[in-house]
């Protein structure tokens, strides 16, 4: 696959009377976008606000973030299986509005009260310490605030939020039709270079097989208890992998993160520079509920890597808890097959950083890159303005937890509730100090 990605950086979003991109300024026609969203009968009301880096604003009720992208020319589409049919993506010409997101927010109580299927929403501070905790505070956001029909079950609510979010994103990106991009980058997913190592990305995905939406979808289909699947790395760029928009928890990346997967992009760019051959992406379902399942999927990934002729792999994951056992078993299985590995993972460590950083480890995991801790506590200061559906939020997530003013000052025990508060894939900049 050969994808031409045309970049249109957004330094300012303005409310205007048309959807228009010019010299880094994106004008959005709120009435037009509201009409687009309200075509779905599951959406009761919709409004839009803007959040810009440095604004004294806290966004509440966040369900997902997505980068506006659209397809031009005869070939392809974006968000296959969600907005369009299941036909291959990852080739042709894609336009992207970079440095911004459509930030989907919604008030949603859900029908599930506890457990891995319960709805969750996240926060984003655009200024102060809270902003420093998230990569998303550096981007401009068109905040979509939807109210969905009462009584919708989780999968229907997800469908309504996601469709609204993606349709707005596509429509905005379509406003770049005929314009000259600031930059064009070429992504070649089958460029076999000789004399350099062939390196793949093993992407562990915690999915909740028993839930209506498992957490990660490929072409709109939630991944359940599958064995490992090889996908074309370019498919990520056109939005083939998406998430559950009723559950936004920082250790589960957003759609924006999947579109801008830092490890996939780094492998692409290293290939373009002639340093390696990108051997593709393997989606590995993790969080099997017994050790046998974990061993089998690790073995299966190693077998697939050997079939793909891979010399080395970056191994990373999303999720939390026992799913990390598969990650370590996968590293062992790959190394035993002669595939060199490097692990990229966040650490635990507890709120003060003195607990065990990883749940499980194997001696074969001899190269690891840490992307920081997800556990450290953080105090959020008062915000001048709330953008989003919730003026009051639950800082603790158990059923019946008390409500706190979203505007006020409060402490979070960990970063899970801040969208982008966990760096799953090492996309953020980190410094390290030795003590």
């Amino acid at each position: 696959m050969r994808l031409e990605m045309a970049e249109f950086p957004v330094r300012q979003i303005r409310l205007g009377d048309a959807n228009r991109y010019q010299d880094g300024v994106l004008d959005v026609d709120r009435d037009d976008l509201t009409r687009l969203v309200l075509r779905d009968a599951r959406i009761q009301s919709a409004r839009f606000e803007i959040a810009t880096p440095g604004d004294p604003v806290r966004v509440t009720g966040i369900r997902d973030a997505v980068e506006p992208r659209a397809k031009f020319g005869a070939e392809g589409q974006v968000f296959p299986g969600v907005l369009g049919p299941v036909t291959p993506v990852g080739g042709g010409v894609t336009h992207r509005l970079s440095r911004m997101t459509v930030l989907a927010t919604a008030a949603y109580e859900g029908t599930i009260r506890a457990g891995t299927g319960v709805q969750r929403s996240a926060l984003l501070d655009m200024a102060g310490d809270g902003a420093a905790a998230s990569r998303f505070s550096a981007l401009s956001h068109l905040v979509l605030i939807v109210e969905i029909k009462k009584g919708l079950a989780e999968l229907e609510a997800h469908g309504a939020i996601q469709k609204a979010e993606f349709e707005v994103a596509r429509k905005l990106a379509e406003s770049t039709r005929g314009l000259a991009p600031a930059r064009v980058e070429i992504f070649e997913s089958h460029l076999a270079r000789r004399g350099v190592p062939r390196v793949a990305l093993v992407q562990g995905c915690l999915t909740d097989a028993q839930q209506a939406h498992s957490g990660v979808s490929y072409y709109g289909l939630p991944i359940r208890e599958s064995l490992t699947t090889a996908i074309d790395a370019n498919e990520l760029l056109d939005g083939a992998v998406t998430v559950n928009t009723t559950r936004c928890v920082a250790y589960s990346p957003t759609s924006w993160d999947w579109q801008n997967h830092p490890l996939a992009l780094a492998l692409h760019r290293a290939q373009a520079a002639g340093r390696l051959s990108f051997g593709g992406v393997m989606l590995e379902r993790i969080a099997f509920d017994n050790f046998h399942g974990k061993e089998v999927v690790a073995h299966n990934t190693a077998q697939l890597a050997v079939q793909l002729g891979v010399d080395a792999a970056l191994v990373t994951w999303i999720g939390s808890g026992n799913a990390f056992v598969e990650v370590m078993l996968t590293i062992r299985a790959l190394e035993q097959c002669g595939v060199k590995t490097t692990l990229v993972t966040y650490e635990y460590g507890g709120k003060d950083g003195i607990d065990s950083p990883l749940l499980y480890y194997v001696p074969e995991a001899n190269a690891a890159v840490s992307s920081g801790s997800r556990d450290r506590w953080i105090e959020l200061l008062e915000a001048e303005k709330i953008v989003g559906p919730y003026e009051a939020i639950k800082v603790l997530t158990y059923p019946g937890a008390p409500l706190t003013s979203a505007r006020g000052r409060f402490t979070l025990d960990a970063r899970d509730m801040i969208v982008g508060g966990v760096d799953n894939w090492g996309g953020d900049s980190w410094a390290c100090e030795l003590f």
Partner: protein, 72 residues
């Protein structure tokens, strides 16, 4: 002390003394997919393995395996 755990390698890593292999994380001491009678036998076997483990003197981390399925 005996620890019944589906993630027995994690229990080994943290140095639990007596570890009994369990069925799965959501249902360590049984298997709801089995007919009630077989599930009952399995549950008894896991608990009696744990009791035997408690009676056994150990010097180091030791894993006890209940007799289940084809092995039984």
């Amino acid at each position: 002390m005996a620890l019944i755990s589906a993630m027995y390698p994690v229990a080994e890593q943290v140095g639990a003394s007596r570890i009994v292999k369990a069925v799965a994380i959501p249902h360590p001491c049984g298997d709801p997919s089995l007919p009630a009678e077989l599930d009952g036998q399995l549950r008894r076997e896991i608990v009696s393995t744990a009791l035997k483990a408690l009676e056994t003197k150990v010097d180091t981390t030791t894993v006890f395996t209940p007799k289940v399925g084809a092995d039984g």
